[in-house]
């Protein structure tokens, strides 16, 4: 895992540097600042850009480990503070969406299997097709229009109260719910077909125990792996949803910084997202190993 995170630091640092645009000149051009040799040199000196690349990387990495992502070009304030405080908003939004996804798709998915509803299957199949094709930001506007403007139930925009978070979280979750209903349903049905379920039935084990201990537990590893990927997707999706609902999260900050070519922010952002992503995947592996003893043999690569 540490190796993977180190990889992430390499990506976040060098990705920006590989782009054939001089960050400082671009920064000046974008922000209509007078381009003078001294001004450019000053920024370079300030950001340490006149040192060798590897040295810069080492320095940046040392600081990043201490949660110091350097200074913003634009505001001259430390990036880390700004980034982390906004990140907590985004993380909250993604987490809310995450639990909505699990709760709704879990209930419908399990219910459809236990009650053997062919109807649910056809319905979710159509829903997967439909939601996969709808841009989430559009869906957000449609929901705002119907729920907030027409019905007047929930607040229009903003962030901070529970009511304000319902629509964004639901919008963000909606794209994933049909997918998870299907995932849960098909993998449960697959699990039920396994011979050890027949043997459990032959022993007269209660149906509730069969579903809980054998079927649900059996689909957990596949579910965890998918959910880890979804966490990353939700964080990315949150950036868009924030723009729709005017939420002061990291997504908006990122877009603003991009417009200003504030690359210290970009670096810090990729580093955080990448690290989180690696951690999610690691957690998923860990949970799989707890559930499935056969996966434990492969453990030990930290």
């Amino acid at each position: 895992m540490l190796a993977a995170i180190w990889g992430v630091t390499l990506v976040s640092f060098f990705l920006i540097r590989l782009i054939p645009v001089d960050p400082v000149e671009a920064y000046f051009a974008i922000n209509n600042l007078p381009v003078t040799e001294e001004a450019i040199e000053e920024i370079r000196e300030e950001q340490g850009l006149n040192k060798p690349l590897l040295f810069q990387y080492g320095l940046w990495l040392m600081n990043a480990v201490q949660l110091d992502f350097g200074q913003s070009f634009l505001t001259k304030t430390p990036v880390a503070e700004e980034l982390l405080s906004r990140f907590s908003v985004t993380l909250g939004l993604a987490a809310a969406a995450f639990f909505i996804v699990i709760a709704i798709s879990g209930i419908i998915g399990i219910w459809s299997v236990v009650k053997q509803g062919g109807l649910v299957d056809r319905f979710t199949r159509a829903l997967v097709f439909a939601t996969a094709s709808m841009p989430s930001f559009w869906l957000g506007f449609v929901l705002v229009y119907v729920v907030s403007l027409k019905w007047g139930i929930l607040p229009l925009m903003g962030w901070g109260t529970i009511e304000q978070s319902v629509l964004p979280a639901f919008t963000l979750a909606l794209g994933y719910i049909p997918y998870y209903i299907r995932l849960i349903r098909t993998s449960m049905l697959e699990e039920i077909e396994k011979p050890h379920i027949a043997f459990a039935r032959a022993r007269g084990v209660k149906e509730s125990i069969i579903i809980r201990r054998h079927v649900l537990k059996g689909i957990l590893p596949a579910l965890f792996t998918s959910l880890a990927m979804t966490c990353g997707g939700l964080l990315g999706g949150a950036a868009i949803i924030e723009a729709v609902f005017a939420i002061p999260g990291v997504g908006r900050y990122l877009v603003e910084s991009m417009a200003a070519r504030d690359y210290a922010v970009l670096q810090g952002f990729i580093l955080i997202i990448g690290t989180l992503y690696v951690i999610f995947n690691f957690l998923a592996d860990l949970l799989c190993a707890i559930v499935d003893p056969r996966a434990r043999l492969k453990r030990g690569d930290i």
């Binding site: 396994k194 011979p195 050890h196 027949a198 043997f199 459990a200 039935r201 032959a202 022993r203 007269g204 084990v205 209660k206 149906e207 125990i209 201990r213 054998h214 537990k217 059996g218 559930v291 499935d292 003893p293 056969r294």
Partner: protein, 287 residues
């Protein structure tokens, strides 16, 4: 105690139906062992599943299965669940696939016990340990082990212990020794015989191996393509087989021939009517 009356089993698929067991009649008397021998695909396992009433949703039955005077076919799924594992137990083939790989051995026992009686997890574990000890299995080690850590032979013995843990009246063993090495096969059979002698539990043993059936059974039914061709006391069927298919089976055993090859090449008929040629001995008429 168990009576199969003119039973036919049909497997239903989306748009067709296939008869896998056809008009089978026999009984399992109290305290006796009945063996069914036949090649793979002869409908033996289907018969076991029919008695257990497993896979009900895509099976259709005609005839009847009478257990202790009542029809199993007429029972609801709920009533059947209470019978399964408690009154009628099933030992299945391929033990490696029958234990849930992510559930400990001990929990397999606990859930079985808890499904049939009110018992705390602690007591259920104790009962499981006793049960394993009764079958000369090292109980302390096994309870917290996962199935993949154990050998096929070990799992098969645990399966017997598990099937027997509610003291069933009828134990059905579907190919209990298949996929095991010869030494382990003998151990398993001795285990089953020992259990039978101690408890007098009625048994129905199904195998493609005539040797297994000959060693165990009091009565033998010979099956071929879903049909019983001969049924009678073991000593009669083995000593004086009346049907030519049974004769061919016995000959193949004596010559260590390949049963599957025989099953494919044997070309006699099995459609004649079943008649009792001697009290308790039934055979299909051959044209």
């Amino acid at each position: 105690m168990l009576e199969i009356r003119d039973l036919s089993v049909f497997i239903q698929t989306d748009n067709s139906e296939k008869e896998v067991v056809s008009h089978v009649n026999f009984t399992v008397p109290q305290g006796k062992i009945v063996g069914i021998v036949g090649e793979s695909g002869s409908g033996k396992s289907m018969l076991c599943n029919a008695i257990m009433q497993l896979f009900r949703q895509n099976r259709r039955y005609t005839g009847d299965i009478i257990y202790k005077g009542t029809s199993l076919l007429a029972k609801s799924e709920r009533e059947m669940r209470h019978l399964r594992g408690k009154e009628i137990s099933l030992i299945m083939q391929n033990p490696m696939a029958m234990f849930n790989p992510i559930v400990k051995i001990g929990d397999h026992f606990v859930e079985t016990l808890q499904s049939h009686e009110r018992i705390s997890k602690h007591h259920a574990r104790k009962r499981a340990a006793e049960q394993l000890a009764r079958f000369q299995l090292p109980e302390d080690e096994l309870l917290d082990r996962y199935p993949h850590e154990l050998s096929g032979g070990m799992l098969q013995r645990i399966m017997i212990a598990l099937a027997a843990c509610m003291q069933p009246n009828l134990l059905i063993a579907d190919e209990p020794t298949t996929a095991l090495d010869t030494m382990t096969q003998m151990d398993i059979l001795d285990e089953l015989l020992h259990f039978h002698q101690k408890t007098k539990t009625s048994m129905l043993i199904v195998s493609h191996d005539l040797g297994v059936i000959a060693k165990m059974a009091d009565f033998i039914a010979v099956m071929r393509r879903g049909v019983v061709v001969e049924y009678g006391p073991a000593e009669w069927v083995l000593a004086q087989p009346a049907h030519s298919y049974t004769q061919a089976l016995l000959a193949a055993r004596d010559e260590h021939g390949d049963l599957e090859k025989l099953a494919d090449s044997w070309e006699g008929t099995t459609i004649g009517p079943l008649y009792e040629y001697k009290p308790g001995c039934w055979v299909r008429e051959e044209g």
